[in-house]
Symmetry: C2
Subunit: 351 residues, 2 copies
């Protein structure tokens, strides 16, 4: 099947494009009334993730409204530990929780790599269905949480502000922590390779909590396991994006992992980041998600600033610096997407 | 009165010391059983802040247990907006809240600079009492929240993850935002100067939320107002410490504000930071507060690493990269303080 819009994949490979492609983290989400309707139909969030037809439906919703250059699989970053038997559920206002968190080394030793076409078949079915329904319109992105991020939730049992349990584990029982991270890296590797076999045309690893570590611990406990995954992926054919929220200090190290692109949060200057990583990788980002609270005129000005900051040349995928907030007005998203396409053309004039 | 231990003030001025001084953010806090007893006696947190005798009592508690090199006034970062009439209170598990948050431009126009010896006299009384009770043992640090951080709480009405209201204000009504930040800068300036007159021997500005801004917005909406405050302080006599959590990318700009020292969070490498700011300022930090969950042997190793990272020479004050967590074992704090004093001596051998 011929891809009708390959700007996103071309930009990931730092090839010329006619305008800067854009997609948004959490583009299929609560800010869209049609998403809320499907979510209500599903009953709860996990049902929505586990039903391929509904997951496909919400994946496609933002593409109907906005001229986005990629679709991203609708799923959750914590499907892998759920498939390992930890019992993922969501409680209103509390975020993700596990019924059976990791409490000790015995719990770690019992973990088994989930079969992507077994316990996680619902994800692969969603990927296959979405690819069929997209019909070559834009590429489909698959994803997973990073081993460190998964371990954080698995050991804490849910969200945390202090990271007390996972940090006590890495500081006091580093061998057990490495054992946990190793089986997670192998599981994520199998999971992402299966998503690629099912049809994902790029994959992204979300390292939501890498930024709570010191540099040394980030390299040891997060980046090295993402590296282990990247090494197993067919990255010449399927680009890989790494995103560590709060990881702006470590872009050089991340860029040497063999990934195709780095996701940037909004605290990291796009132009500065480009100077630091050179032509090693493409860059994805990084509008402050809160900028979408601003009026469309201000959004356009901010888009113009970001495009100027990146400058001429290839290798930029426009995105937010983090997921879109649930209260955002969809009209502001339309203003953003259209502004990126329109205002970026001069930067690709020789494409 | 002669100061018996001036290592903290000497280090802030980048003068020689015999070992690296240490104090801890939130050193008077919930991890200490004696603090919890005084807090129970006070009834609630605001009563504790507003009663100079009790505030003095908890300020001195950690000095009885640990060989700390500075005391910090026990208070809250939000006393100034409370004195402006916003009605600060604390709800279990929710953090600080305001009864009368800022809702519109009229609310901003009504704000008046609080009189430090009027509505805020309880703070000055506490400073005077603590200085007397310290009797020259160690220096006393005064502090305030930064204008941006105060504005964030005032406009959001409490804690927030999305910063939706304050960001909508700076993006859509920048003039009103600047008016709010300007009166807050003037208020904090009067407040810190009054703390100095009352006896504070160093002051620290806590910019807890500067790190949620882009660089451009950080410079415009946070640093420029901290700069305005620093300009009014007698900084040759009373050192000023600036701390922006998540501000590791902007140390160069912060170091040019005329402050004496920068507080560093634990994501920022101490050695890297030193290279970047040169001899412009001293550096305070930056052990990951979660490291105190580790056993004392691991804590010592980590202290050794941090001291090696800073290296020989003057201008380091040891601290955590953020406030101490409530569940920390006080014995681990003792291990930390003693390790810093013992292991830092070789780095000051020619002092």
């Amino acid at each position: 099947m011929i891809l009708k819009n390959d700007r996103f994949l071309r930009a990931l490979k730092r090839q010329p494009v006619d305008y800067t492609p854009i997609w948004l983290m959490r583009q299929a989400g609560r800010y869209l009334p049609e998403y809320r309707a499907t979510r209500a139909k599903a009953g709860n969030f996990m049902n929505l993730c586990q039903n391929p037809e509904l997951a496909c439906e919400v994946t496609l919703q933002p593409l109907e409204r906005f001229d986005l250059d990629a679709a991203i699989l609708f799923s959750d970053i914590l499907t892998v530990p759920d498939a390992m038997g930890l019992g993922l559920y969501f409680s209103e206002g509390e975020g993700p929780l596990f019924k059976q968190p990791i409490k000790n080394i015995q719990d770690i030793q019992k973990l088994v790599i989930p079969d992507p076409e077994g316990e996680l078949k619902y994800v692969m079915d969603a990927v296959r269905l979405i690819r069929r329904e997209l019909n070559g319109r834009v590429p489909l992105i698959g994803f997973s949480g990073s081993p460190w991020t998964l371990a954080t939730y698995m050991v804490e049992g849910g969200s945390t502000k202090t990271f007390s349990k996972i940090k006590a584990l890495i500081y006091n029982e580093p061998a057990a922590a490495h054992q946990l991270l190793d089986i997670l890296a192998k599981s994520v590797s199998a999971y992402l390779n299966a998503q690629i076999s099912a049809g994902a045309q790029a994959v992204m690893i979300f390292d939501t909590w890498g930024g709570v570590l010191t540099k040394k611990d980030y390299l040891d406990f997060s980046l090295s396991y993402m590296q282990q995954i990247v090494d197993t992926l067919p990255k010449n054919d399927v680009p890989v994006i790494l995103f560590t929220k709060g990881g702006g200090s470590w872009l050089e190290e991340m860029s040497l992992s063999g990934c195709s692109a780095l996701g940037l949060d909004w605290q990291t200057g796009l132009g500065d980041a480009r100077k630091r990583v050179g032509n090693q990788v493409a860059l994805q980002g990084n509008l402050d998600p809160s900028m979408l609270y601003a009026n469309p005129d201000k959004i356009r000005l901010e888009v113009a600033d970001l495009l100027r900051d990146f400058g001429h040349g290839n290798g930029h995928i426009f995105n937010l610096g983090h997921g879109i907030h649930p209260e955002i007005n969809p009209d502001h998203v339309k203003a953003l997407v259209d502004a990126v396409h329109e205002l970026s053309r001069p930067y690709h004039a020789n494409a």
